[in-house]
Amino acid sequence: MFSEKGVERLLSVIAFSAISALALIALFIFIEGIPFLLKYGIKDFLLSSDWRPESGKFGIYPMISASFWVMLGAMLVGAPFGIAGAIFLAEFTPKTVMHIIKPAIELLAAVPSVIYGFIGVVVLAPIIREVFGGPGLSLLAGAIILGIMILPTVISISIDSILAVPASFREGSLALGATIWQTVHMLTIKAAKSGIIASIILGMGRAIGETMAVIMVTGNAVMIPNSALDSVRTLTANIALEMSYATGMHREALFATGVVLFIVIIFLNAIASVVIRKKVITK
């Protein structure tokens, strides 16, 4: 048998090492990336479009803009369908059916991203090439594939927050003669708003962070996109494509790209936690 004090000490040591290992990663990325940022100049790094590592030029503006547009596109595809699906499943579908479909959709979140990427290459890109022209592997393909990939996240969290709206709200409204749809769009969605927003923010995080699917479908050309049909390279793709052979300044530049991604994720999480905390307070 363990002694009470012994157990507590053991647990504290484990907790401390787990947390410091995680802190170490963050620290490591920043230590590798920040000196480069200071040396090269934050402004030049973020706002220059010149990415030629072999000649010491490290401007990641094209990747920032690619990541931004791909994420925005993914939101435009994923959010409406995801929220519509969540409302339909939570409000207009029999409970038994929903309890089958919801786990099935959650299961799809586990489908490997390389498979989504592959579908993008063999099914979606040819369609885009046929219908709109261009290379097919493009910003548009990336946005659509990522939009599909975030659907399970958006649907699952939104359903949870819609179901968390007290039944008494709904019954009160229905008892006053409102139709289910009136109740939903005047009441339920407002009450579940923060959960739905949080689901979208988490989806954004997923879209920004996705790497393999994006590498496969966006074409990876370093350029500022002029249209949705252009080939683009995102921040994550940039790290993945060049990491294995990068050395010196080049490697530091990739770590600095990691720092940028890190900060975006911290920012998104901060917003999400504020949104969720607000919900707790207004409850």
Binding site: F2, E4, V7, E8, L11, I14, A15, S17, A18, I19, A21, L22, A23, I25, A26, F28, I29, P80, F81, G82, A84, G85, I87, F88, F92, I101, L107, A110, V111, V114, Y116, F118, V121, V123, I148, P152, I155, A178, T179, W181, Q182, G205, R206, I208, G209, E210, M212, M216, T236, I239, A240, M243, G258, L261, F262, I265, I266, L268, N269, S273
Partner: protein, 278 residues
């Protein structure tokens, strides 16, 4: 013109229903597409023979082994660390600024792109510690990647155990650790298991981290410091290099089936656990 609420409702339901049907159809299409092309390739032979000619022909035996070893190593490292950490945070510390900071930090790390863990693992384990591309480097990098998720999900599961249970246990003369062992953990188990299974699932499907830390050797590993290849990586390489579409589909189908098995097992375990409880 004012449309009657009845018709608005019919309109809204139609649009929502169509959007839902479309969503579900696309998601089902992806699964069917892969299984339809991949299942005919799948056979006992395919799973249990060595690949030849860079994977153009032959089976996926070493890849199967890599796909089991890496997630297993990751979970062996991350699950005890993550669960102990969450127990410590919830049961042995008071809620304070420090615990809130830790929670925010783990939240952020859970959302950080996996490629960053790949970058870290590549530089730290592969290069600085000199482990090279190996099962060890890959497993440890994956462990760090899933650790925040395991901490957060078990923390939530532990927090959800009613305070009254703890109070009763203390009032009957239980120590804190006895209370955790006999009342808190058994009740938090479904949630804790879910977190661990999510971690296994993420390790199986992860590609970027594995390529950069475990490499992509096609040989059967003989030690933890050998390079290996998982199904996700194998599929990616076959599809990207256009080596063999047939074997790529076969690998994709195995991958999807593996992920489905892991998730359904977790689902079934949780249901059995809940059913047994009541």
């Amino acid at each position: 013109m004012r449309v009657s609420p009845k018709y608005t409702q019919i309109g809204a339901v139609t649009i929502l229903g169509a959007a839902t049907a479309f969503t579900v159809a696309i998601l089902i299409f992806i699964i069917i597409f892969v299984l339809e092309k991949g299942l005919p390739v799948l056979s006992f032979n395919f799973l249990f023979t060595n690949p030849s000619d860079m994977g153009r022909s032959g089976g996926i035996l070493p890849i199967l082994i890599g796909t089991v070893l890496l997630p297993v190593l990751a979970i062996i490292v991350a699950a005890p660390l993550g669960i102990c950490t969450s127990v410590y945070l919830v049961e042995f510390t008071l809620e304070s600024r420090v615990t809130r900071l830790i929670r925010f930090g783990t939240d952020c790390l859970a959302g950080v792109p996996s490629i960053i863990f790949g970058l870290f693992g590549f530089i730290f384990f592969v290069t600085i510690l000199g482990m090279g591309w190996s099962i060890m480097s890959g497993g440890l990098s994956l462990a760090l990647m899933i650790l925040p998720t395991i901490i957060r999900t078990s923390e939530e599961a532990i927090r959800a155990v009613p305070k009254a249970y703890r109070e009763v246990s203390f009032s009957l003369g239980a120590s804190r650790w006895q209370t955790v062992r006999k009342v808190v953990l058994p009740n938090a188990l479904p949630g804790v298991v879910t977190g661990v299974v999510l971690g296994i699932g993420r390790s199986i499907e992860e590609t970027a981290v594995v390529i950069f830390t475990a490499g992509s050797s096609l040989l059967i590993p003989t030690s933890l410091f050998d390079s290996t290849r998982t199904m996700a990586v194998h599929f990616y390489i076959l599809a990207r290099e256009g080596l063999s579409m047939e074997n790529a589909y076969g690998t994709a189908a195995s991958l999807i089936i593996a992920v489905l098995i892991v998730n359904l097992t977790a689902y079934w375990m949780m249901h059995r656990f809940i059913a047994k409880r009541n």
